[in-house]
Amino acid sequence: MRWDAPATAELAREHGLSEEEYRRILDSLGRTPNLTELGIFAALWSEHCSYKSSRVHLRKLPTSGPRVVQGPGENAGVVELGEGWVTVFKMESHNHPSFIEPYQGAATGVGGILRDVFTMGARPIMLLDSLRFGALEAPRMTHLVDGVVRGIGDYGNCVGVPTVGGEVDFHPSYNGNVLVNAMCVGVARADGLFFGRASGPGNRVVYLGSKTGRDGIHGATMASDVFDETASEKRPTVQVGDPFTEKLLIECCLELMDKGLVVGIQDMGAAGLTSSAFEMAARAGCGLTLDLSLVPAREKGMSPYELMLSESQERMLLVVSPASVQPVLDVCHRWGLDAVEVGSVTEEPEVNATFDGREAFRLPVAPLVDDAPRYERPWVNPDPAAPVTLPPLHERRWGADLRAMLSSPAFADTHTVWQQYDQSVGAGTVVGPGADAALLLLPGTSIGVAATTDCNALACGLDPRNGAAQAVAEAVRNLACVGAEPVGVTDCLNFGSPENPIVMGQFVTALEGMGEACRAFEVPVVSGNVSFYNETSGNTILPTPTVGMVGVVPEVRHRPRATWQDGDAIYLVGAVEGELGGSRFLQVVLGLEAGPVPAVDYAAESRAAAAVRALVRHGLASAKDLSDGGLAVAAVEMSGGACGAELTMPEGVAPARALFGEWRGGFLLAVARESERAFARTCEGLPVTLLGAARGTRLRVSLGGKVLLDELVGELQRLREKGLGWLSGA
């Protein structure tokens, strides 16, 4: 079909537009669009680009605060760090492409999130990845894990941005829909920010980067649909990444911005040239006129339809003043990049394009961007999980239970994943992967920038509201473990089909929980991404609202450690008993995904986090938060597989709740003898329990004269290394 053929209702349906949406297009234009125009509408009105099902609910999130420079709506969020520095960050999903083609899907996910950050004038300083896979026994799953990890590694390693954190988890609900959420954190001077605005009529539009090919056409519409058994047929809609060109783009764009040659800039991400052109025009209230014949094409004979909808990677759209065009092209060519003037900014708020001397399309901006459809989809309030009746738990062999948990993939040592990522390029990594949060030095300063990604999807499945709130609380605790105070959140909301009222109910209530927690901790949400339609043949993923949180340490003086040393006193901050509802103990040991997930005690959590931050900043304690697997698993992690400990639990507590209980907002702290006084002063007024000391090679936990655990830490560590050992290739 020709690119200028008139659209029909049938074609609209094939583009994923509903009958009503097509009618709306006809009404707003007052005429029948051509095929290219229809494609543009379909892309910009896709769930992926328009947030049509989520927008009304995203308003529930707090987005402002004294440090916020730029909230949602730009390419990334911006928050002040101090001393004239800002941090620019965002997390985004690349779930659908990664399931179809794991290596390229994950790689281009990293590429896209990097562009969102450097587009704002920030130098990317770290990457994190929150990954969810299905059961390792599921078809293709080891191939998916291996491909995703190599894809992330090969891209980030080549561009030279360290990958320093994230998480990996497994659950059968992801068997047909893995999740790849990539987060990038950058830094910039507060007066050196740039925005995706095509302002100043008469200014010129410059296309920069890779040539446009036929790859990725309809990527945005693919990400807005459910999968069925024909998913692999969608492989041609996955893009191919070129990290070398991305590296050149980073350096070239930062140089252009540094030289003051740029008015507005945006990358061509989902929906390619279409979204960059229309979104930049919409933000500035202007229009654009483009000559599509000038767009660098990878192959001959590409039509306006293909040029507008290609999702070829590593491309940017720049708006520059007429006088800057030549200097801009000179810098780009010095970096060996294609750069071509392809149009200009107009006053009339419409985007029009010519091709081979005739008009290809002419569309008003507002109906496509600001007036895109919004839906208040029907939803049902999820019933929070009921209390669960547990089998008798007094005569268990706790050592065997702990070993079972450590042998499950959820607790596998992930070093075989992150050793495939360059974690130290940039020479600023103070705390890298494998810890609670990453901590990097802002280049040339002693300011620490910390980041973590968190979500306990098991809990969110049982209670989306409390589960999402707990994810925020865990992120706050993780940042505290490296001494960082939270300054902003980016979220990546992964759910099933919004057309299913149950899924929509999960989404709405998870946002309520996340909003409540972000308000309570006073951490605004400044950027994010919604990924719906994560379901295959009717199987929906667990609701997975991933929280990416960034924190700051005003002056890093000590290197936080996550392990204890021989002789350290070991303290618990927080409740001695946790709850078993929604815990890993129930899931792994008893095979139960059940039980209520408690609400967050914000006041207690905030007090504990503040104290731990202070302790870590002053080098008075090593800290680990109690989350998945409770105290027992935290203790194994703090042992580093090397140094044991003798711990005594207070009389009268229930062993299962003491060892494996979760949701207690607690921390395990290791304190050197000489620091105990300062430690006590800092923790005044907090619920602190001395549990024992680090020594020997065994983890011994006793209660009321009975030994609950007595295991060699080296052996426990070896169990953790089995789950993902195969990934190393050794």
Binding site: F244, A427, V430
Partner: protein
Amino acid sequence: MSAGRRRPRVAVVIFPGSNCDRDTLVAVEEVGGEAVPVWHQDVNLAGCGAVILPGGFSYGDYLRAGAMAAHSPVMAAVRRHAEEGGPVLGICNGFQMLLEIGLLPGAMLMNRTLRFICRDVHLRVERDGMPLLGHLRRGQVLRLPIAHKEGNWFAPPEVVREVESAGAVALRYCAPDGRLDDGANPNGALNAIAGLVNAAGNVLGLMPHPERRVRSLVGGEDGAALMRALVEAA
């Protein structure tokens, strides 16, 4: 260094795709040198007394690591500088380039795991009294990060014999206590070779990244000795 004395100038060559260039520039300054960025298309080394080929993925390393960079215009100047006895340090991708232009022997294969590996390794110093190893002594153990996919040094048996008998091995992967142990060899390099030096002693190539370890807050200062040695030789 005495006040007022001019700091030694060290060229850091930037290729398209270099990604350790900025870390290297900073590290040179940190140990007292004046770091001078030199563009791959430049034909001279800006009057510098020493040159560093930094790590990264020059030209994307889509061909063979370092293969394209070997043909950059600046490489003629680097070769001339080396042949005149000027100090040259190649780190990671820079080491791969030194192999490609023949300033050091052998070639790099993919790591034996066929995976990119980034982690700390221990390295045993194999030579005494080498200017580019500064104050380091034979048998001393360093801890530095590696980050590469092609660091599995390989050469025909006669070249390996020559390298060993000539004392061209500067650094070997080792256990924390300095023992040679196949488990401590991360990539399968022959004879656990992590760094080589030429016969004249002015060209050093190594896979680990000393420029990432010049501050204790980011994991130690074991890299500072190597960086300082180059600056002092400039």
